[in-house]
Amino acid sequence: MLEVTAVTKLYGRATGVRDVSFGVAPGEIVGLLGPNGAGKTTIMRVVTGFLTATAGTVKVAGFDVVDQPLQARRHLGYLPEQPPVYPDMTVASYLDFVAQVREVPARERRARIGSAIEQLDLSSVSGRLIGNLSKGYRQRVGLAQALVHDPPLLVLDEPSSSLDPGQTVEMRNIVRRLGETRAVLLSSHILAEVERICARVVILKQGRVVAADRMDRLTRLLAVGTKLRIQVRGKRRDVDSVLAKVPKLESWELEDAGEDVVVGHLHPSSGADIRETLFFRLAEAGYPLLEVRPEVPGLESVFMELTGGAMPAHKPGKSASRSGVEVRGR
């Protein structure tokens, strides 16, 4: 549905994105992930034809966005970072305007607008001026705008940024539902967001793709070689002596965590998956392994590594979701 091939976009001397390629198939939600300034918005603007690429091609539903712009644009819906709404219009009149511009036939217009209003649960505010709506509602009106013509490709730029946790969950469910039948390209700088709804991720750093893969493969990649946290029933000294015999385990720290329970932080040599060996060695010695998990949750550590040691910043008040980790560039 969407094919991005070797796209480079320069802003004068500054680089927006460089040599980016990826695709999105129908029924697939692909996440563009990267810290601020990584080039997510730039790609989306090139994909939607708002900007023209310096080099490379973009095809939407088989139509080149530069050579057949109107054809290509007919097949996409776009929610920019700022919802493109007019504060002086009511929700209903705005969607009617959008539907006309998006070439929804007059006969179907009412039904399409009604369905968009229903899908985004906007019926209670449809007569209100958009300027008087809360940020969350405005974002939903923006999304209604993107799908009123029922496009096969949806491009959503940080759809849940600046929403509160409850709204974020709602937005996530909406996007997931939309992605069942459509191709969706979604951007975010919040890992948890992408991790939860995207089947595939393209990770960007300073305008370049540093990783692009299925979500499950990226997460498996992480399970290898990262720090492990274990919980074992036994005495600290005994567990210590067992660990000493585990190959490919470089260093560890143990601490007592209550009666006969030891918590350990293990550093395997890079690239090694020691979980099975660990399990058997401890079992043979008679110390049951109660828990083993990666010290840093999933994608995060890979993301950190790939995007060059960007600092994770837990911002209690502002973070878009409870477990969301905001990642910013240096």
Binding site: R73, F97, V101, E103
Partner: protein, 236 residues
């Protein structure tokens, strides 16, 4: 066509829903009305030609105020990201918006229709001159609006767009004056480019194809430039 209509109609509604249009209209009518009345009462005689020239002169101040919002505000609010990614050409956007501004202007002019009506009621107006005069006022006003539309495409600040448009129109007034007072070749050149000089014939009931052509292509040229400016921005 539906799409141009949608852009046009949204814009017309925006004009008439905000109080600003009514304020401009009131100012415009007050000033033109005052000129009309003052002249009429002083001399018991009126040349519509002067009234028409006054209307367009007033409009120099109002046109940039009407157009400054049109494109600059879309950029400021980010709604241009919708318009420019919709299945719509930039030409359709610009024409829709321009026609909306022209419509507001026509609404202003419609109210000034009371002046010839008064003349008809109490005197013997020359309907041909009134007809061509209004045509001139419409064409000059449209040209001024096109200047404002172009200015609005150059910035994302209404204020800057307004000042820019106003500056250019003032310059055109200077050209108009200079065309009157200068002599020789310079006068010929200035008269050729002066907008009001082109309209003077129409105000006096003279329909000249070259003048019509000049005024219309001036407006068309500015709108075309506007489209180019906006297309260009995609390439940044």
């Amino acid at each position: 066509m539906t799409k141009v209509w949608a852009v046009y109609w949204r814009e017309v509604q925006a004009y008439f829903l905000s109080p600003v249009a009514y304020v401009f209209m009131a100012v415009f009518l007050l000033l033109t009305g005052w000129f009309f009345a003052a002249r009429l009462f002083a001399t018991q005689y009126i040349e519509m030609q002067v009234v028409f020239a006054n209307m367009t002169f007033m409009f120099v101040f109002i046109a940039p105020l009407l157009t400054m919002r049109l494109l600059a505000e879309e950029r400021r609010m980010g709604t241009d990201e919708f318009l420019l990614t919709a299945p719509l050409t930039v030409g359709q956007i610009v024409v829709g918006k321009f026609l909306a501004a022209v419509t507001v202007y026509l609404a202003f002019l419609a109210v000034t229709g009371v002046y010839p009506w008064l003349l008809y009621r109490y005197g013997f107006p020359d309907w041909v001159t009134i007809g061509t005069g209004y045509l001139g006022v419409i064409l000059v006003g449209a040209a001024y609006l096109a200047v404002g539309v172009l200015a609005s495409s150059l910035t994302n600040s209404q204020m800057v767009a307004g000042l820019l448009g106003f500056g250019v129109l003032l310059l055109s007034l200077v050209v108009d004056r200079a065309a009157v007072v200068s002599t020789g070749l310079l006068a010929k050149v200035l008269q050729a480019i002066s907008i009001s000089a082109r309209a003077n014939g129409l105000y006096m009931g003279v329909l000249n194809v070259a003048d019509l052509f000049y005024l219309i292509s001036f407006t068309g040229g500015l709108l075309f430039l506007t489209v180019r400016v906006m297309e260009r921005r995609r390439w940044l």
